[in-house]
Amino acid sequence: MIRQAAVWNLSWEQRRKLTGFLFVLPTVAFVTIFFIVPLGLTFFISLHDWPLFGDRAYIGFSNYSELAADRQYVKSLNFTFRYTLLITPPIFILGFILASLVRRKIRFVGIFRTIFFMPVVIGLGVSSLLWVWLLDDRVGIFNKILLDLNLVPKAQLFLGRPNTAMNVIILSVVWKTVGFTMILLLAGLQAISDELYESAEVDGAGYFKKLFYITLPLMRRTIALALVISVIGSVLAFDQFYIMTRGGPRNSTISIVYWIFNNSFTYFKMGYGAAMSIVLLGILVALTGAQLYILREKD
């Protein structure tokens, strides 16, 4: 009764604020429990020598200062950025082409949308295993086709050489994720009114003028979202390298998350792994901020 009275005694503005707070409370709780607290714990661990067994010891920022001397860490960062730079354009361009193809409501378009999107629902681990099998030198379909067409003299070890390994992994991930980018961009394309295109056509605009003066500018927010998601996904790449190459050949495909995993769960250097994770978070925040700044609406 007292509580009820207390609520009813609030002013309209206060009650409105309280209602708003109650609406966001589940999200605040969720973010706190699953992001803020783990992030704080990760930072806490990163300040310690934290082995799996035995005693842990506070070592300040030593784990962070060790990073600069870790050649594999620098190599993995470089590899991850190169991978991100190489994979982002094909995902985006192919996603845009597919979105344009399935934009119109024509016959069977739903079937094509489903087919293009289908790989997205497969787990990345499963799709990586599938590609390992497809690329196998003895039973893989790719080698069978290449050999039958006399395009190669003998079966190729696609995952056995650094460059080809990178290329086929990019191919597999584009196949797996392009459907998601397509759906994002499709939503952006469908939000543009047909009247705008009709007016432009009346003014004599061709395909490219419509693309560069109507479609792309009006899709700026959607493009930003698609790029941010794609870049974050690529910087955090792990499964495909862990399953398809195990970081090989000659440790040439160890992404930064793979290196964090190795340090944390193979060498059991939890503190060092946590320090790398915090630095990676900083890098991701900077990258995402830069993308959003570049693609911001300029009024």
Partner: protein, 439 residues
Amino acid sequence: MVETCGTRCYLNRMSKSKQEDNAMSFGRLTKLALLALLVIAALPLAAQDDQINMTMWVRTISFQTQALVDEWNANNDSQIELTVIPSGEFVTKMGAAIAAGEPPDIASIDLIYTPAFSSAGQLVDITEWVRALPYADDLTPAHMELGMYEGRNYAVPTAVDGSFIIYNVDLFEQAGLDPDNPPSTWGEMLDAMRAIDALGDDIYGYWYSLGCAGCNAFTFLPFIWASGGDVLSDDYSEATITSDPIVRESLEFYNAIWEEGLVPEGASIDNGSNFTNAFAGGNIGMAGTGNFSLSRYKNEFPDIHFDLFHIPGKDGGTASFGGGDVIAIPAGTEHAEEAWRFIEWTLTEGPQIDIYAANGQIPVRLSLADNEYSREDPRFVTSGSALSVGHTPYTVVYNDLFNDPNGPWLEMLQVGILDGDIDGALELGQERFTQIMEG
């Protein structure tokens, strides 16, 4: 007078009657549930008086642990619940369980991790119990060594395996080689590989999985040991990769196999998935393997006639990698004595013969390697005797050095064998081994 009642009245009555029924049912159910709870709660109390319940963790390997536990449970008051943990997660889960104060009472651990556990004080000291065993000196030496830390015993062998070379008898005969006199030096092995390789385009002299770090620790290190060399110093304190000439020669030996095309090209990227499968294809002359694969070859590929020989040194001598699991009592258990009673029982002759040997597994006592079951198939005598020349590196960073697919061991092999850059491989191996060993 009969009371008239319309539909609504009838439904009300029905509803009221149902509520009463429900109330009665609820009351009865509550009483029953309370009674059941009391009985359930009393059961463990009663059981606790005369029965010890223990937990045992084992990694996913094909040894006969389940058979051992079943036999124990059938004949003892204390009971063991066996939990199988995926091999790749075993160490992490054990570490987490110990840190949380809830370790299993017994653990079957990959022997290479034992120094890491014992040096961190995570295992119960069982020295006095081990010393009291009349057959302590008969237990496989490599496993006993790995189970020790600073002169104290922390584990004993439970599942042992040694590496050796398996060879295809039919291919040997087709190539004009004498299958009864298999190679005993590297030179003889190379000659045999060349002869077998010449039999056809799809036939190869040898198989190694050069994308698999652990497979090559198991099968390549013994080539070095059998020749008197090693990649670690005698006290395991430093790497001897550049200073020991045998390491260079062994890399040159494996590089020659690669350069001459005596192995399928796919071997260069095999991550171990074909470690045993490759030989089962019937077109491979020789391959390194262990006892774990023999039953499979025998039962699933009866058309492949195979035999075994110990891994030879450059000019003779033999060696083997002592692999498998040791059994230990994690620190923090309340049932250490009963856990030891189980462990001690597993080492006795009964289970060693009736469960281990009867199921094609090597007994952990050397004197029992030659038994009624192994005598039925002399190949099991060869595989069992490999452990008499068995060796395992003793280091708390074994995993980082040898087992990690991104570690220095595999990278050194790939650079030296596949790229042919022996100098570069040795430098790289020495530098990264030293870096890891110095922490």
